[in-house]
Assembly symmetry: D3
């Protein structure tokens, strides 16, 4: 165990020991992660007394990740008309009774830690990542929606949109191992679906086609990476492992493991025989390797 807490901000521990190799989101895994989070918070509380009160109230005074997260979300999302105690109860009830949400939360924490080099610790993500927090709160509003508690789901949705500037319709389906990086300005529509191990940057829109109801939003496959400011509109499929360039406006289907870029977005390598990549961009987070090819293609 390193003596200098400082160092760990420079060099995140390698995945196989520092982060653990059990990534299937089981409850044992959750227990390991919670111990890790408490250890991080304890180290930070010791090195920074000015933050210790915050770390104790949000993490160190709690007996489980669910309680910590429920407390934190309850206090972040409350307002003068939706009290923190009500929200705390709501979150705790959802997290405690739904193992699939718990597993998704754990996978999301790992996703941030593994994919974002600016994520210095699990506790950093738990406390400070608005994309992570908005996503977990969405998981609860989604559960309420599915239980036909729609007015409550929508009220929660509204608080998430106000507080985090992240606007995910409660009906939208989201997988696990999700990284919403920076997250500000994200909009995800009612019939959108996001697969597992997807990474989405800020200002991304998964939008509809107009005023007609029904299935009208994008379906994002597993392992997709969507760059900052991309706008994807309509009930179109972004295939598994595809990559959407920053600032793209996507109105077409994107086949698996291909890259779409530009406004309007076109497939890199051409519509007929688009280039295919080997990696999973949602995990490798390679935003820019297509540049030279793109330039070639476009100019």
């Amino acid at each position: 165990m390193p003596s200098a807490g400082e160092l760990s901000y420079q060099s995140p521990p390698p995945e196989d020991d520092g982060i653990g190799n059990n990534t299937n989101g089981t409850d044992e895994d959750s227990g390991w992660l919670w111990l890790q989070i408490k250890a991080e918070a304890r180290r930070d509380a010791e090195s920074e007394p000015a933050l210790a009160s915050y770390l104790y109230s949000t993490i160190l005074s709690h007996s489980s990740l669910e309680r910590s997260l429920s407390f934190h979300l309850g206090n972040k999302l409350c307002s003068s008309t939706l009290l923190s105690t009500l929200l705390y109860d709501l979150f705790l009830n959802a997290f405690s009774t739904d193992p699939s949400i718990r597993a998704a939360t754990v996978a999301d924490l790992r996703a941030a830690r593994t994919r974002d080099p600016a994520c210095v610790s699990f506790s950093h993500c738990l406390l400070n990542y608005k994309g992570f927090l908005a996503c977990q709160a969405h998981r609860v509003s989604h559960k309420l929606w599915n239980q036909s508690r729609k007015p409550l789901a929508l009220a929660l949705h509204s608080r998430i949109a106000d507080v985090f500037a992240v606007d995910i319709h409660p009906a939208a389906k989201i997988g696990k191992g999700i990284l919403f990086d920076h997250a500000t300005g994200m909009v995800v529509g009612e019939t959108a679906v996001i697969g597992n191990n997807v990474s989405i940057l800020h200002h991304v829109t998964l939008g509809g086609t107009g005023k007609v109801g029904g299935d009208r939003h994008p379906k994002i496959g597993d392992g997709v990476l969507i760059g900052a400011g991309a706008t994807i509109l309509g009930n179109i499929k972004i295939g598994e492992g595809a990559k959407i360039g920053a600032g793209s406006v996507v109105l077409i289907e994107v086949p698996p493991r291909t890259t779409a870029v530009g406004n309007p977005a076109r497939l890199v390598g051409g519509k007929e025989k688009p280039s295919q990549h080997e990696d999973v961009p949602g995990e490798s987070m390679d935003h820019t390797s297509f540049i030279s090819e793109w330039s070639d293609y476009i100019i």
Copy 2:
């Protein structure tokens, strides 16, 4: 009257009876709408006790739409240095004394309910739509601006920008029947004008041309639809019923009932003889019908 409140989230009542056919924003109309909102809130309070306190404080305890909205905005926009009671007074005074704001508010509620398939009820819009709330608060800051109470107008502007991430200069002129959908990230400059029955998605900028003052922001005609992330810069005219594609960067005038897309935006059908559509896009909300034509044009 349907017994299953649940259903009404699926199927919004047809415009001619469930929503009423009197849409001219008169006070009778406002009265009808207020009764409808209270009925919705009462139904939701009964089905969801956890939300009942919220619904009573925001809607059911009030005697009019103006009071409800003033309360809600006062509590949403207040801060430790701008107390809710002060803001409540300010809003109530503006709404009570200005029938044109009241009419615009009613028309905006109808616009959301009619155009946005995700808007399940009027009360849903009143309570949860940050675009709607930011727009109504802007109407008050605009009134203050016109009364030469500029420091107060700007302080209110700042609170709207902080709380809703919607940044509309108090001097900007906005018509009625407006839908700011999702709304996060909208920026509307000082000399911008927005006509009636306009729909604008999130991240849209109606920006200026630089540091020189004077009339320097876009003028948006009636019935215009502006897609997500569009940036329109300078004192240019977006003609009545025009459509701006998502992600477009518009630096040119756009004639009535034509469509501009791309970065930089060009007219679909060509500069010389742009295609014209029949519908009013600000109301029909058709975001994507131009796709095939666009592709033809560009590629």
Copy 3:
């Protein structure tokens, strides 16, 4: 001294007397500015009793710009788990002990007042500009980061991102004379560098290239202007005095005093011999003069 406070919103005083010609950010300069801010606030408090309480608590009750700003930021950024008194102490300590932050704050106030025609007074910027406030709060989180107080820097970073929707990594280096106009949605990555006298509009991303750590974000030279919604990715250099068009997606180096536009961005005038401008766009704020040339180039 003008008798009509009203007028001063129309006609900002000329730079040489109303704003002062000593712009080097010394403490004398800061003193002059503080007197000016108090005079503005006093005038506004007199003309608008409803705002007087706000103006006294934020400005008129304080003995210095540092105290006023510390109070204002402490109350804006506090939460139920990070109390205003703690943040106030933190800000006051940083501002009081670091003359370079004080000088930068003064230069930023002047930048907003000079470059933004909608900025009617210094106090308007101090109280209401979320870009200004986020930038000053960042200066403190950056100082904490450099003092190896990283958990505290990141907690502050998170509050800035929540409250202002402005997400600047504490490690990012920012010069002085900065205008973050509108600011909502800005994202600035860990290894980004922003020079002096830069103007950046809202929704701008200075992003990284992927999951690999190290130096991976843009370097923005002095005097650069970046238009709304631009996305700049990777460790690339935007040369001194360059201009980035609104909505551009920049993946290439941009030489000094040239203009890059489009998605993907290309240099106006062509890659080989790009057009060069004479002015300093970060100060002149000319967003659109390249339009005709751009159109010629692209179409």
Copy 4:
């Protein structure tokens, strides 16, 4: 008019000019008093910038005494479950529609200013006297009680008891020209009646006789003075102009203009022929003149 604001704390202006000789609580009188209060607050705001924000929010930003008092009580008595905006509305409605409450408030302000040498100004009483504030809030809860809005009256009663430690049952009838000096710990039961121009010190109980309902609390005549800590129990009459010594436990009727002291309280001068005084103790506030006589009587 004295130039030194300071002095006025030493020497309250004589009743005939500084305080005005029109004490009948008409609306003109109320207008005069409100101007006086604003003048005091303005003087204090100028001499003490640290308090100016408080004085503007509570007094100087308001257009009438009713609005100022409604704001102040709304913010003092609100809780996380009874919002300030709701209470503000409630108070403002009551004060605006009931001239008799307004007249009583004015008379109470005058009573404090005239009778309490520690009361340095009307604004001092309006802002800081918990007895005054509790009494005005009681006037509103009493009005609600009489309108059969009992649950609301009792909720308000509870807030007054929590915040000011003054417990007056909403049904208790209270006259005008009342001074509740210090006030902490006062308890006034359901069927108690307090006449006009009464002065009551802290810790005084006007209590009942037990568990049987009905008329069971004291009736206090006009001009009575009740010393600190006195306990008066049962449906007994304290005659007009009577005086109750501090710490007395009164279980007997007290004839007009006599003095009761001790535990149990007896009449000074003896039951058969009690001493009578000429002054109105509720106004002259003479707490101790009976001492020598008392000693004679008791020992």
Copy 5:
């Protein structure tokens, strides 16, 4: 069942049907009471929309008396440094796991409803009686004290003393069926013991004898009634069913079913052969029947 909610404030239902005859504090009893409380709150919410939000948040949104009380106490006792969510958790945990506290709470509600003619409903007591609320919060601080969680018990003690002005040391032992009427100013020392079915008025002190630790506070027997402002000092026994007159200063043992009055308190009827009463004063609440006898005795 009466149709007019109004009436029930005048005439509390007779004990045998309106309040139920099962008063042994079992969980079934608690269930009956909870249904009653909800029915009362529902009736009040319907008749008074302005209070409905409060009633839903405090009572109607909760699934049990424990949750309702935990919510209410958490929100009443919280401060900026002891958050409502923490307190809510603490209370809910104590109430949920300790049936003896639950039974005592139920018995206390019944005591208020039966003995205090001003108590118009169970919900009135639950929401508004500071003596009841302070007593329930004390039960939790006492439990913490017994679990050797003394710092937490003392912090809670301090909040109760601040908010309700009721100061009961966490170590003090309190029975069930307790009525602390009005309650403001009560002080109960560390080694005090209060039996079952005791009624204590406001300003009562059960105090110690000095700076020496150990068993030094009064022991109050079952069924005792202590009048307002009484001070009982030292490790003395107030026998079962005894009565202490208002304002008494008691330094002597008081035998069962006798009455002590005066300062210093003496037994009515004389030390040698004090008068004995038949009723249980803690339940009959007869404060004043001893008056004539007392007068005879003293004078």
Copy 6:
């Protein structure tokens, strides 16, 4: 050092080592005490994670006793119109610049720890004793009063009276080594003086004689003990080392080292030759030793 934190609540360390023998309130003394307080808080934070956040925010994050106390008082006394940051600044400024206040605070902490067997630690007093906190806040309001900042002194006075139910006029002079035990309901008038090493229980009044200004309140000598509920009225002298029995109503001078009891209070031993005690009752806290003698005297 004891391993069981638990024990220290039972047996406070003897004065000569556990509490230190340097009691002259110098800054070295203050330093020793502050270390002790931090050690206590650290022990409690470790044993009780639920309280750790509170202990860090109030004590452990601060660098000095002055900062800790300023933070704690600022957060306790703030309101929606008097913000915590303003009060924090006010307190910190007063404590930092006035060594005599600092010395008095230290002496008061020692007084509570030594004289009150229920005071288990210095931090317990610092955090939880409303008498201690009210007294320290009074010291600051008194300083403001002496600086002719009377409106601010009175506003602070009002907050202390609301929050702690302790009402001490800012002009009252209070010595050091003061214990206000329980404190609820204390009232101390404008011209009252309290010497050093005085102990005063709750509900004690040092009141005036009526409506005439000037010197009209009691003067309490060094080492006096005043029992609960005593009322002392008029400009009379309570001699050094005197003792006032609980519930007494004192209207006569009390010579040094004598005891006054009863209502009205008389000297134990008789007016002519009152009994004298040897101890200093303000320090020995012997409330009841006079009982037998009193009984003899009175009956």
